[in-house]
Structure formats: structure tokens, C-alpha cells
Amino acid sequence: MNTQPRTLQWRPARAKGTGRAIGHHGEIVQGMFPTRDGGFCRGLITLPCEVFHATATFAPEPEAPLRSVPAGKAKALEAAALTLKELGQDSWGGALSIDSNIPLRWGLGSSTADVTATVRAVCDAFGERLPAERIARLAVAAETASDPIMFDDCAMVFAHRGGHVIETLPGGLPPLTVLGFRTSEEDEGVDTLSHPPASYDEVETRAFRPVVGLLRRAAFTGDSALLGRAASASARINQRFLPRRHLAGLERIAAEAGGVGLQVAHSGIIAGILFDPHSPDLHRRVDAARHGLADLGITEAWCFRTAGDDARRGG
């Protein structure tokens, strides 16, 4: 047992540190994934979305309490405390301010973006950089479950409650054009932590095996259509745990408009009709989907494109 008194590293902090993180647009797939030991692990493939983002600023103060602006950012404050401890600077406190354009409770990763930006801001204040794997573990410790937006390349199956990578998807995720919307415009949203994890039965657990097969094929070949099929499968399997209004109608709209699939936030109220950005008449297809959504009473929609891996397609 080490009886040496702990030496605090009073590394001079900068006046302020800043960090930025993007949000996500729910998940492409969320479910159970096979592990090397023959078991299954909860995991997800996130749909990163640069439209939504958060910026954190941390002004460290020695021997001071941690506080947030705006107040009530409990998960971000927990992340700041954990990061200071990780850096060996837990005698510091300070003011954490967060500026975010991400709506709460929609399933767009607002708290994960806050937490990730906070970890980066605290590190920046002390001139440190943490690898994405350590930021992921801190994020899960701070908020119980997290999407892997702290990784530059999100082409992975991520254990959102374990904070580790289950499997990387070599080749990267193919690009997608996403028409996003709320499945219920009256709904206030979903509190991720109060929403119980899906209790998949044995058949549903194994139903994700062909889904992950499609994901690997989609990443390997750069096929956006296969990625869309995997997303639709996940939305259907998860429907009984967080039912979406009009799921069958939304799938029909996607198919009739020339989309490649439908994705949902598995703890939220947003969804997205997916398109291959290289498909001909893309704008006409997106407009057709907008009209279809309007027929279902969904009038607010937004469109963005993921980065994807266009290099191999010459895009």
C-alpha cells in the first residue's frame, strides 16, 4: 500500500479553456452486438450531425466550487469534476459555461455534446489533450450512456453504457443525406436516463446479427443503401420499446420518395429519412419526402448531409 502523501500537481492553468463537440441525429442502429467471448453487448452506431453542436468554456479557479452557466448542467459539472480528477487537478474548481444549439430531450445528444465539450474545455485549460477513448469513459461515467461523438471517425459499434468500442467498421460509414423531423411535434421528448434500456428477448438479441452483417458490408463497399436498410431494421426491432407514430407510414414515404431507409433516435423523438447523396434527382426525392411527411402532419423538417467517405467514390 502506498503511504506516500499525494503530491498535487499545481500546474498553472490557462485563464480559460474551450472545447467544442458536435451532436448527433439519433442512431443508425442500436441494439445487441456479438462480442469475441461469444456473448452480446449493448451498443450503437451513431449518426453524427454537425448541424448541432455545443461549445464549453472553463475558467479554472483554485480551491473553488464548480458551477455552471446556465445553472443545472449537472452532467456537465460531473464531467468537469471527473476530468479534473483524471488530470490530477481535483483541487481546482471554476466556472463552466455552455453554449449549445441542441434541443433537449429530442435524442440529438445534447447532454453528450455538453459533456464532451466540457471535458475538452477542462483539458484545454490545463494544456492537456485526452484521447477519445478516455473522453468516452469519462462521458459514460458522467451521464451513464453516451454516443461516441468524441471520436473523429464514428464508424464503430460503441458500447454506449460501457464506454468502449465493440467493433470498428473498416472503410467508414458511407455518406447519407438525412431529412430529419420529429415523429410527434406535440411530444415534449424523452429523458434518456428515465427511459429504461430495451429488454430484448433472445430472438430480438440475435436479430441484430444480420443487421451488423449489413453494416460491415455497407462500410466495406461504401453502399449507402445497405446502411439505410440496417437503420430501418433497427427502427423496426426497437419499435416495441419506444413506439414511433406512423412507423410503417414513414417507411412507405421513404421508399416511395426514393430514400434508402429510415433511422430513429432510440431514446428521443426525432427520426430521419435517409438518401444516398449520389442518387440522381436528390432534391426531387427529398421534396417528395417532405410532402409525404406533411400529409402525416409533420411540417417541420431539416436536411443535412453526413461527411461519410466520399474519397473512394471520387465525390
Binding site: 469475441r36 430472438v203 443487421v211 458490408r217 436498410r229
Partner: protein
Amino acid sequence: MSIRDPLPSVHAALAQPRILHLHGELYAALFGSLLQMLPAIDLVRAAEAEGEALTLTVETTDAQMALALALACRARGHGFIAVSARGYDPLTERRLAYLGASVQPAAAGATPGATPGALARRLGEGLAFAEAAEIMSEGVGHIDCLIGPLEAAYALSGLGRFLRYVNPALRVIGVDVRGGGPPPAAPEPCDEIHCCDPDEAAAAGWKLLIDKGLAPGAGSAAGYAVADRHARRHPQARIMLLLVDRPWLPVRCPEPAAFPLPTSGFRPVGQFDVPQLSGGA
């Protein structure tokens, strides 16, 4: 993508299918072992997970299934008792004995200690075929149509069930080898049944052997005949054919009218000089 770890047993190495490209959009899943190994391994693992006794007792009339269960139990270090109302053929019983399994006749009513429902339930759910469905999706992506012999109905059922999660419009076609008569009613896993004449099946088996070096059993040969026909009628549809029975050299040759065998016209591919190995210093 995970790296390929060494596999713990020959059954694990051979149980899952390898995917072959036949032509166009026609692919085949080649199972290199007893097809029954998949549900057998699955059942043994499920029993282990539930902490059941180290001797598995299962009621099955299927001799191949009994052998697969005996192999799976042997590989995992468990005992096995096969329960069958009418017993098995002498060769199967001898094989089971060599594998350390014992055979018990099914008593009237429930068999003490047996799990007659477990195998049927797990076969019905098709759980053992989820990984094979993953291998198929990873290998070829989207699959429109699954074709296989009716004798592997539970494999068609399990694979169809899991592949439908990624393509609800999947068509499952069962193939029946028979000579004439009305086609049987489609069992639950199948959307349709196609009948294949024995001569056509034999011709297809020989064609597969000559063209691809594959020696299918009668059921798989019939499946190939139907899948090949389907592929030519629907060239855009991606088809996965199950080659499920153990390879054999077909003993029955088709009538020349059904399948003209190449008897002449081979041309030499060239003449090769074999280099002399030097004798060292």
C-alpha cells in the same frame, strides 16, 4: 471488424457456412459439416447457460440430429442420452455408442429428465441460424430470395426469420425432389414450393460438379436446379442457395437428353516445362 481468432473445435470451424459466388446474382451458402451441428451446438450452449446437468437428455427421432448432439456434447465434455420412440438404425446406434452417448426408448408420456420441448422450441425459433444470417448479409449484402431443399426446412425457417429482419420482402422458396403430382402445401417458413424432377436434380448436380467442383447431395442439387432457373428468370434478384447436405459424388448420371455431358471438344491449355530442381552445391 474483429480478427479471426482460432476456433475452439472442428465443429465451430465447420458449422457456419462459407459463401460462394455461382453466377450473376446467384450465391450459395456451403455448410461444411452436418447442418444439424448448428442447432445442436446452440442447444448445448443454452443448457450450459442455464446451468443444467452435465448430461444432456434430448428426445429426437432424427438420427443426424442425434449424432450432431452427441458430437456437440462430446466436444463440450458433457454426456448425452438420445431418446427415441423407435430407436435408430444400427449404424447410427453404433456411432452414438462410440461417441459415448446412450440411447433410451421413449416411454409412454413424459420421459424423466428429457427436454423434448427445448430442441423443438429452439429449432422453431431458428436461433441457431442467426449467425449464419449475419455471415450471409456480410458476404453479399441485401438478399431478395432464399432457396433450399425442404429436407432442411428448419434451416430455411431460421435463416428466413432472421434475414427478414433486414428485408421484410424476402422470398423463401423450398424445393421438393419428386416426380410429378401436385406440389405439397408450403410449410410455414416457405412462401412457395418448387418441385424438381429427379432427372433434373441429377443433371443439376453434375453441372455443379463439373462447373464449380461442388458435389452436392440430392436435395441441394435440386435446390441448385431451381435457383439457377430462378436466377435466369429474375437476373436482378439476389439469390442465396443453401447447399446443406454433405458432399458426395453423384452415383446417378442423368440421361443424355436431360444433360448432354461433354464427351469431346476439350482443348489443351498448354504445355508446361517442369524445371529441374538443382541438386544443391
